[in-house]
C-alpha cells in the first residue's frame, strides 16, 4: 500500500458464496505496534498541530480515514 501502515489481502471468493465477494480487504497496522518502548526526545508536533493530529509525536501519527477516503480508493476494491 502507499502508506506503510495500510495492508491489504484478497479473500478467496468461493463459487457458492451467498454474498457478493469482497475482493480486497484493507487493514491498518499503527506505528505503535513497532515501538515496544517509546524512546526519549522524539521529535514533537507544535502545540497547535498536536491537537489536530491527535498525538504529540509524528512517529506515532496514525490517521484512520473514513471509509470513503481510505488509501487507494474504496475499501472494497
Amino acid at each position: 500500500m502507499q502508506d506503510g501502515q495500510w495492508r491489504e489481502w484478497r479473500p478467496y471468493a468461493g463459487h457458492w458464496d451467498p454474498c457478493p465477494p469482497i475482493r480486497v480487504k484493507r487493514y491498518m497496522v499503527p506505528p505503535n505496534q513497532y515501538i515496544p518502548y517509546q524512546p526519549m526526545n522524539l521529535p514533537q508536533y507544535s502545540l497547535d498541530e498536536a491537537l489536530y493530529r491527535g498525538t504529540l509525536w509524528p512517529a506515532l501519527f496514525s490517521p484512520y480515514p473514513s471509509q470513503g477516503q481510505k488509501q487507494g480508493g474504496g475499501a472494497h476494491g
Binding site: Y37, Q38, M40, N41, L47, D48, A50, L51, T55, L56
Partner: protein
C-alpha cells in the same frame, strides 16, 4: 453572522457589553486552552512510563504553568470553567450562566 441562538454579533456593540460568552472570541480562546490541555495529557501519559525523562518533565511543568495563566485570563474574562471551588466567580454567582464550556 447570527449564531445558533440568533444573537447577531455586532462588533461595535460588543465592545461596551461584557465579552459575549460562547461567541467567536470565546471559542478561539477556549481552543488555545484545549491545545495546551491536550499536550499536557500526552506528556502526562508519556511521563507515567518515562519517569526519568528530565526534558519532558520540564516541558510539562512549563506547559502546566502556561495553562494556569491562560485559564486565569479566560476565567477573568468569561467566568468560571469549573465549579466546586476549582474556579473563582464574580458577583453575582456566575456558575449557572449559560453556555457552559462543554455547550459551546
Amino acid at each position: 453572522m447570527a449564531d445558533l441562538n440568533g444573537a447577531v454579533e455586532r462588533p461595535a456593540a460588543a465592545l461596551q457589553q461584557p465579552p459575549e460568552r460562547g461567541g467567536e472570541a470565546y471559542r478561539r480562546e477556549l481552543e488555545e486552552l484545549q491545545k495546551v490541555d491536550f499536550v499536557l495529557v500526552e506528556l502526562n501519559l508519556y511521563l507515567d512510563t518515562h519517569p526519568t525523562d528530565m526534558q519532558a518533565i520540564q516541558q510539562f511543568n512549563q506547559l502546566a504553568q502556561r495553562r494556569q495563566q491562560i485559564c486565569y485570563a479566560f476565567e477573568m474574562k468569561y467566568g468560571p470553567l469549573k465549579h466546586f471551588g476549582q474556579s473563582f466567580s464574580r458577583f453575582p454567582w456566575q456558575w449557572p450562566e449559560t453556555p457552559w464550556p462543554w455547550q459551546v
